[in-house]
Amino acid sequence: MVNARPNLQTKLGALELAYPTLMGSGCYGSGEEFAAFADLSKLGAIVLKSVTRRARLGNPMPRIVHTPAGMLNAIGLQNPGIDWYLARELHKYAGRPCKLIGSVAGFSVDDYAYVCERLSARDEIAAVELNVSCPNVASEGETFGCHAHLTEQVVRAARSTTDKTLIVKLSPNVTDIVEVALAAQAAGADALAVINTVRGMAIDVETWRPRLGNLAGGLSGAAIRPIAVLAVYEVAQAVTIPIVGQGGIETFTDALEFFLAGASAISIGTANFTDPRIPERIVAELQEYLARRGLAGLEAIVGKANVGFSTPHQYEGDEG
């Protein structure tokens, strides 16, 4: 028994997606850059590059370093600021054949609420993702997403400004990602993106200097995939809202791991730098896989990892 066309539709809060594939923020521009090389109508959504209240020049070069099985980036949120973005950029993105998710970054709780309110008011924007991996400049520079109480404040403030689907992108650079996930859920998040990049550094052994202009950056690519799969699994055990799994997804079997771990959708970032046809290929191969197994849709695989335990956290000594 083979279904002709298994259904890959998925939902994140009120956001309905024809395909479960998001293009990671900052990895796909506005879509226009990739449109000549990829079929945007075969994407679920593009998460746009993060916008802040004021324009940002971004970090000094180098901003990218290729590393084993991945890359480090430290772009520094280069963007024109919300005023310019809304007045002179966003209208150009109308008519994309896939959904657009706005991404909000900020340096105070008020920043997030302000930018979220203005961005989500626009028709081009189907949903909003909060990039909470920024320092709280209003306080002591703690990263919002690294603290449950700060994450809760940001999400609550943003939530009060919009009825559109609100996705919170969690940082893996924490002691307990589940604690932060629960805080985001309690504050009204509709979905969680798990995970953002892993902090890292590379040093040029000729010059003895950091290879990134910003010294530290975010590691992405296949190198972080197992970190991400476990984070998705653990968060999925604890929350009731849907999860966008992300971190080094390059093939449909990678994607499958994330769905089995509990993700309702996936996000593809760095793999687009290998081959922009990868998202479309993953969708086609997922459909073939589901058809081969006689499965009607994603609900048949989401969270179905057979871990052999009746309750989570029974495994121990996982670093041994």
Binding site: C27, E33, A55, G58, R63, Q78, W84, F273, D275, I278
Partner: protein, 265 residues
């Protein structure tokens, strides 16, 4: 996106490989100084940005020094192998000017970016001097091709095994002043070209080299500070935290070729 086939693999010097591709659409669309993103057959690394060296008829070629994982993989390709490439990309050299006396400066495999440029300028009737520098004589690859095409060659090597001993930019300073300079090579060489051009009062177009992320404008990973008044400046306001009229332009998208006097690097 072009599905191409490797027609010929040439080893031009130890570690320097040229691959000729059956890629008519790419060849016909390519302008001087443009590049391609070469998709790794293994899909295990990011794509590699490489200049389109030659473009004629149904053939386009790429030329590279095998230096890292990505170029080593490409070096393994043989005639008959498939290779997918995206391109042509970027804004290449502006060869529409009326200058009759042109200097092209190339360092190492930067030579790959300037062959089409030299061809176009020669066809337009310009006198073209190629200032070509490399570490050692055998790395002055394909110099003879440029001579046969009609360029006057001025060579320089770090070890003095051919041409001037020392930097190619020192040779540029000593020779009669050109009306315009086109250059591609390592960043220190390009900075020296920019300095010499400023001293001579000549404009220079520089093809910059940088580590790319996506290579097509989506990630803002390869930027260079540019004066906001440049025709190539992206339509962004000067950043509040920049405190000047300098903006970051994407080398992949707004470049890779920029006017030296518009860079603030």
């Amino acid at each position: 996106m072009h599905a191409t086939t490797v027609i010929q693999r040439r080893v031009l010097a130890p570690g320097v490989i040229a691959l000729s591709l059956d890629a008519a659409a790419l060849a016909q669309a390519t302008r001087p100084g443009q590049y391609a993103m070469v998709i790794p057959p293994s899909a295990q690394t990011a794509a590699t940005a490489l200049a389109i060296y030659e473009a004629e008829g149904k053939l386009a070629s790429i030329l590279f020094f095998t230096i890292g994982r990505r170029t080593h993989e490409l070096a393994e390709l043989r005639a008959g192998d498939r290779l997918d490439v995206i391109g042509p990309l970027g804004n290449g050299f502006d060869v529409s000017g009326s200058e009759r006396d042109v200097a092209i400066v190339a360092g190492g495999v930067g030579i790959a970016s300037v062959f089409l440029c030299a061809q176009a300028l020669l066809r337009a009737g310009a006198r073209v001097r190629l200032f070509y520098g490399a570490r050692t004589a055998e790395l002055l690859v394909d110099a003879q091709r440029f001579a046969e095409a009609g360029c006057k060659l001025v060579e320089a090597t770090d070890d003095g095994t051919r041409g001037h001993r020392g930097f190619v930019t020192a040779a540029l300073e000593r020779e009669p002043k050109p009306e315009i300079i086109y250059a591609c090579g390592p960043t220190p060489m390009l900075r020296a070209v920019a300095r010499v051009a400023a001293e001579l009062g000549v404009r220079a177009q520089l093809s910059l080299e940088e580590t790319f992320g996506c290579g097509i404008g989506g990630c803002w990973g390869c930027v260079v500070p540019l004066v906001g008044s440049s025709a190539q400046a992206p339509s962004f306001p000067p950043a509040a935290d920049g405190g000047s009229d300098v903006v970051y332009a994407r080398i992949c998208r707004e470049g890779p070729v920029f006017w030296a006097d518009e860079l603030r690097w």
